[in-house]
């Protein structure tokens, strides 16, 4: 599909392309896409660039409608989009700029194991993880909660899980927002959302969500690796999940109500999925309060998933997880809106940053970072597809200057799910992955084909762009050994 040929993309430098404001009347700022020539070709294949231009219509948008190199066609916002709005200047908040899976995100933990030590145990681990960590559509967890507890989760986030004994204080320190974003308002969450959330805490979900055992196969920055305590051949674990049905319901509820805000506040956007309201309006505040609840739920969820993972390792190796060095490196959200302070033309402003398929990447010294990461900059975790690589990066000062402290979030899809399912045979793919030393267990066979490496851009190319553009810095790369898919 070449719908995109007509979107003008002017070269700024080797890694940035501008969609001028003149492209569409109504654009308040230009669009800027981070990509190299090669990725740009893929970007031109679908409607993602058009969506970058549409986001530039949002009232109060600051500097530019930004897109990361893993950008692809979504609904409303593109996936891989960053938009900052200024509440003082009529800036809006849009549920579509966060997405249905609020605080979909990823965490990475390390172990003391070297690949050689546990290579014969990978299959056992994968099968045990698959049986003990609930995954798949609508999967229900063993960690069931009542409504009072659910309300507590929505406010306390990962801290709730830690208080229950599912982790430690250090885990919270190594989680974006310390695992709970302040200002969550449980009264802004509908009954239905509660109902959907009750049974799903501690569950992985389906689709592109996963749990992976990985091995570090490349170090890029020795000093940073030393700081993080990472070496070549070391085993790491990655967990990718979100807020499940609770988050979807919050997004649905507020998209419904904000469609009416377009008329009420006289907002002109080219796509109703960009429905929004001023951040400071009653509707905007209610959404933000509810979105924070869903975000906290997701952090509690990933904390529970990590607890279940540690338990499996304890069972297989008959050692406490602390002895296996299963410390959390960091946990990042990549579908979220945040109220943050940034410099705009040399002046500090409090802005609403939408990151939809984009990751916070604060540079060294940022006041929001825990002491242990003040020197390195914020760890950024980039999951790839199940056949290739994933990355650990850190945020940079340049990201603070150019992208409101943001970077990419993953490989980004290239092929539609239908095209992938048509052209890829799940059995052949499993064999091919196994020959590469990758064991996969998935709830549905459909998921395997849909999530095939061929359906994704090469994460290596995506990370090259954010590294070379300077908006984050490579620390190390991993490759998958064992994959549990929802």
């Amino acid at each position: 599909m070449s719908n995109n040929i007509q979107v003008p993309l002017e070269k700024i430098d080797d890694y940035r392309w501008r969609i001028p404001r003149s492209y569409k009347p109504g654009m308040r700022v230009p669009g800027i896409i981070y990509a190299d020539e090669k990725l740009l070709k893929d970007i031109r294949q679908d409607k993602a660039a058009e969506q970058v231009a549409n986001v530039a219509f949002l009232p109060g948008i600051v500097n530019a409608s930004l897109a990361m190199p893993d950008i692809h066609w979504g609904y409303g916002f593109c996936i891989g989009g960053v938009a900052a709005t200024d509440p003082e200047n009529g800036g809006v908040i849009s549920p579509g700029g966060v997405g249905f899976d609020i605080n979909c995100g990823v965490r990475m933990l390390k172990t003391n194991f070297q690949y050689e030590e546990i290579k014969d145990k990978i299959k056992t681990l994968v099968y045990a993880l698959f049986s003990d960590v609930p995954s798949g559509l609508g999967s229900k967890g063993d960690i069931r909660v009542n409504e009072r507890e659910e309300r507590e989760i929505l406010v306390k986030g990962a801290k709730w899980a830690v208080e229950k004994g599912f982790g430690t204080h250090e885990d919270l320190e190594c989680t974006e927002e310390y695992g709970a974003i302040p200002g969550a308002d449980p009264s802004a969450v509908s009954e239905r959302a509660y109902e959907r959330g009750k049974a799903q805490s501690g569950t992985l979900g389906s689709g592109n969500h996963f749990l992976e055992i990985q091995v570090i196969d490349q170090l890029y920055d020795r000093d940073l690796c030393d700081e993080f305590g990472l070496t070549l051949g070391q085993i790491t674990i990655m967990i990718h999940s979100g807020s499940r049905g609770l988050g979807y319901q919050v997004c649905d509820d507020y998209t419904r109500s904000m469609i009416h805000c377009l008329q009420k506040y006289n907002i002109n956007v080219p796509d109703r999925q960009l429905a929004c309201a001023p951040v400071n309006s009653q509707e905007g505040k209610a959404y933000l309060g509810a979105m924070k609840c869903a975000a906290n739920y997701a952090w509690a969820n990933r904390q529970c998933l990590m607890y279940l993972t540690r338990k499996v390792f304890e069972k297989i190796f008959a050692l406490p997880w602390q002895k296996m060095g299963m410390d959390l490196i960091y946990d990042v959200a990549h579908n979220i809106a945040k109220i943050e302070k940034h410099l705009v033309n040399g002046k500090e402003k409090t802005l609403c940053i939408h990151r939809k398929g984009a990751t916070r990447a604060f540079g060294p010294g940022h006041p929001d970072l825990p002491q242990r990461y003040k020197k390195t900059g914020q760890p950024v975790i980039i999951p790839g597809d199940m056949g290739r690589n994933s990355y650990l990066l850190v945020g940079t000062e340049k990201a603070m200057e150019e992208t409101f402290g943001s970077t990419c979030h993953g490989a980004g899809r290239l092929k539609s799910r239908t095209a992938a399912t048509k052209s890829i045979n799940a059995d052949d793919l499993l064999k091919e992955l196994e020959s590469k030393g990758i064991i996969v267990r998935a709830s549905g066979r459909g998921t395997i084909a849909e999530e095939a490496p061929q359906a994704y851009k090469d994460v290596n190319e995506v990370v090259d762009v954010v590294h070379n553009a300077g908006i984050s810095k490579r620390v190390c790369r991993t490759r998958p050994l064992g994959v549990i898919k929802g």
């Binding site: 609904y75 609508g138 389906s206 109703r272 799910r417």
Partner: protein, 138 residues
């Protein structure tokens, strides 16, 4: 015969559905959505749950999206897969319908649909009735 077809979309699922009239379109769209979500593995019993659904909206597009999202929401909250729909009343702004379904354990679930979205939504009258194009976030 399937009353829907899958169209290309990079990340999500884009579907075209048809119906001989508007009621038929709403019904077939719900059937299509649950056909994408799950496949029956155990035979039907008499233990069907019946849920009455009422929706109001400012226009037909919103009513259509609200209908599909309400079904997804109920399906997830009640742990049901819906397989039969009766559209009792339908105009531009109001919908009254009955959805019948059974516990999701009777199905093999294939795809999680998070929501139906407005992006690229098209509802139109065609020669043989009505047609809709919608993108599901999956």
């Amino acid at each position: 015969m399937k009353k829907y077809e899958l169209l290309e979309h990079t990340a999500d699922i884009r579907v075209r559905m048809t119906g001989k009239d508007l009621k038929g379109l709403f019904k077939n769209s719900a059937l299509a959505m649950f056909d994408i979500i799950a496949q029956r593995k155990l035979s039907k019993t008499d233990k069907q749950e019946k849920i009455i659904i009422e929706q109001k909206a400012d226009n037909l597009d919103e009513l259509f999206i609200n209908w599909l999202n309400e079904l997804l929401s109920l399906s997830s909250a009640k742990e049901l897969i819906f397989s039969e729909f009766q559209i009792k009343k339908l105009d531009e702004n109001n919908l009254e319908a009955v959805a019948m379904g059974e516990n999701e354990k009777k199905y093999k679930v294939n795809t999680e649909i998070k929501a139906a979205t407005y992006h690229g939504l098209k509802l139109e009258k065609i020669r043989s009735g009505w047609q809709a194009e919608v993108i599901f976030d999956v």
